[in-house]
């Protein structure tokens, strides 16, 4: 498993040269990250599975066009973000926001994945509060906030992914954090009252 920056860069170089095993390891390395990224933008595990598959297909086909092997992560997230945007363009407004059934299914899937069905209610509460926060943000604020604090990308990387200036990214981030500070439900969760 690739653990360091150099390991990942090495895998990218080998995969680009046609090494199938390296490509598979690369997919393994980013699978959870990409799936989670898509999930928090669709709130549907089923759609996230399909989109993740498509994103990695696109990655394997376009890997040769990646100029800097070290920037694989932001590059992959850009592919993912574009694919999610296409998905939302095609989906109806109802599917975009997800249904109650979808949210319950997601919480159920999360609880099963973590082998802890008793926490389903608690997970549902977190996801509901988290959803309220992200829904309260503008599209740009939400994207920047998620990329920064959930997907763990730097300001410069986010600017590259969104094709925006760093100052624009910072402005959206500032506004998003301000709204986050005004969300009492999440603060209650973060203080550990439910977890």
């Amino acid at each position: 498993m690739a653990d360091t920056y150099h390991d990942v860069t090495d895998l990218v170089e080998k995969a680009r040269a046609g090494n199938r095993a390296s490509l598979e390891q690369l997919v393994d390395h980013f699978h959870k990250d990409v799936f989670r990224m898509v999930y928090y933008r669709t709130y549907s595990p089923m759609d996230a599975e399909d989109l993740t598959q498509e994103i990695f297909m696109k990655m394997s086909k376009s890997l040769s066009s990646l100029k800097d092997a070290g920037s694989i992560r932001p590059w992959l997230f850009r592919i993912a973000l574009n694919r999610v945007r296409d998905f939302h363009r095609k989906k109806s407004i109802l599917s975009f926001f997800g249904t109650t059934t979808e949210l319950e299914a997601a919480a159920q899937a999360t609880a099963e994945n973590h082998n802890n069905p008793a926490n389903t209610m608690m997970l549902k509460e977190f996801q509901s509060q988290f959803r309220k926060l992200t829904d309260s943000l503008s599209q740009r604020e939400r994207e920047v906030f998620m990329l920064r604090f959930v997907d763990h990308l730097g300001i410069r990387e986010i600017a590259g992914i969104l094709k925006k200036g760093e100052s624009t990214v910072k402005t959206h981030l500032y506004r998003a954090i301000k709204k986050f500070r005004q969300n009492p439900g999440l603060h209650r969760l973060l203080k550990g009252e439910l977890l």
């Binding site: 799936f35 989670r36 595990p45 993740t52 990695f56 997970l123 763990h152 954090i177 301000k178």
Partner: protein
């Protein structure tokens, strides 16, 4: 002006969370020395960090494996390096064989010539010796029976009577 008036407000703390370098020199200088403001900043950072960690940990995990496209059969062009390497190897082997062949045949030819020359020299030496030490004219008369009378003389010398009787 006391230090309380200089404390960062909520907006400034949030700006410091986004990027500390964007603060004005005065505000930045205060933040670097004020434990109260540093505490406020760290609290917000902690909240955001916890939120991100929970979001990562509580997200569902993918259940389906990613299927990658099958390897396409390689085009002839993509085999080009293999062809070039193979051709180079054939050329190299042919070169080595040719060199070995040429070297061996040259050696053989040289030794053949040497043997022939030696034979020629021997022959010439024999001819020269024959010419140099040629037998005298009498010599063939001893060996060839050019004069049968010589034997009769010899018999007469050994046994004169019998020779005379035969003569009668």
């Amino acid at each position: 002006m006391n230090s309380k008036n200089l404390h960062l407000n909520e907006d400034q703390v949030i700006r410091s969370v986004v990027d500390e370098n964007d603060l004005t020199a005065t505000v930045g200088s205060h933040l670097s020395t004020c434990l109260v403001c540093q505490g406020k900043k760290q609290q917000i950072e902690q909240q955001l960090s916890t939120l991100g960690r929970m979001a990562r940990e509580l997200a569902p995990l993918p259940r389906r494996e990613v299927r990658l496209p099958f390897d396409k059969p390689r085009s002839l062009w993509s085999w080009r390096p293999v062809f070039v390497a193979g051709f180079a190897a054939v050329l190299l082997i042919a070169g080595i064989c040719w060199y070995a062949l040429v070297t061996t045949s040259q050696e053989k030819m040289m030794s053949q010539i040497m043997r022939e020359t030696k034979k020629d020299e021997q022959l010439m030496a024999e001819i020269y010796a024959l010419e140099e030490y040629a037998p005298v004219d009498l010599y063939p008369d001893i060996s060839a029976e050019s004069d049968v009378g010589y034997f009769d003389e010899f018999l007469r010398f050994v046994s004169p009577l019998e020779a005379n009787q035969n003569a009668v």
